[in-house]
Symmetry: C2
């Protein structure tokens, strides 16, 4: 019999189960996409991140990136050059979410197929069903975390 | 360079990446909790499900269960006896989400600890950090799916 867990609060988030915490930190419409592409690409500049999210406004993307940074999931590095270069990458915490996104992607691919396939609404390339992995820059970090 | 994926629609849901599909199907405030407890408990009656979700209204829980059933993630079985018995369990598709929830739980536990721990708001037992696994009734099904 599962027991009732305590209600907890962390950085303004209320949750009971640990996976609720994970869902609130990683969830929403844009954050998982940012995390996923950073995991695959290794490092991305703002303009590269935005290319993955053509529907998002600058205001909204900036807000998502600030929240992800404040929650310790992504790292923002500013290189003082002309013009200044700003790069985003995953922290060790953000890296820990990547395998979850990959498993969700594999599940989603299987689910879509099981439901008889989806209707294409706007153009673009079909998403590859097979797993495209973590960028090599994270591999040693990923090993170290295990 | 990640390519822009097509926008797709499946059963009224719009998404681009497969994990977006997974997030919309499993996501929300109550559904992951229902799926998680069904995975651990094997089979639950309505009253048992409700015990895991004391804040949810009957109207809301019934709606979540209908959606989960319509999406093919849970199975609802009615046993014609007096009084009638209704049991809920995971389908093979729902079962596929359980490892994701477990990984999210483990990540959430690590994240909470890394952030210096959470503040307890209401009473209850501390959630065990170690993985409590899948109910034995699903084990053969899980093997078969691999």
């Amino acid at each position: 019999m599962p027991k009732q867990c305590a209600t907890k609060q962390l950085q303004g988030r209320t949750y009971r189960c640990f996976f609720e915490l994970a869902l609130t930190v990683m969830g929403g419409k844009w954050k998982p996409i940012v995390l996923y592409h950073l995991g695959q690409a290794g490092v991305q500049r703002y303009s590269e991140l935005k290319r993955n999210l053509p529907e998002v406004t600058d205001r909204m993307l900036t807000r998502q990136l600030r929240e992800l940074e404040a929650d310790g999931l992504i790292r923002r590095e500013v290189f003082r050059q002309v013009p200044p270069r700003v790069e985003y990458s995953l922290t060790a915490q953000g890296l820990g979410l990547f395998p979850i996104l990959v498993t969700m992607r594999d599940w989603g691919a299987g689910y879509e197929a099981a439901m008889g396939g989806a209707e294409i609404i706007t153009g673009g390339v079909p998403e590859p069903a097979e797993t495209e992995g973590l960028h090599p820059r994270y591999l040693s970090e990923s090993d170290a975390a295990q």
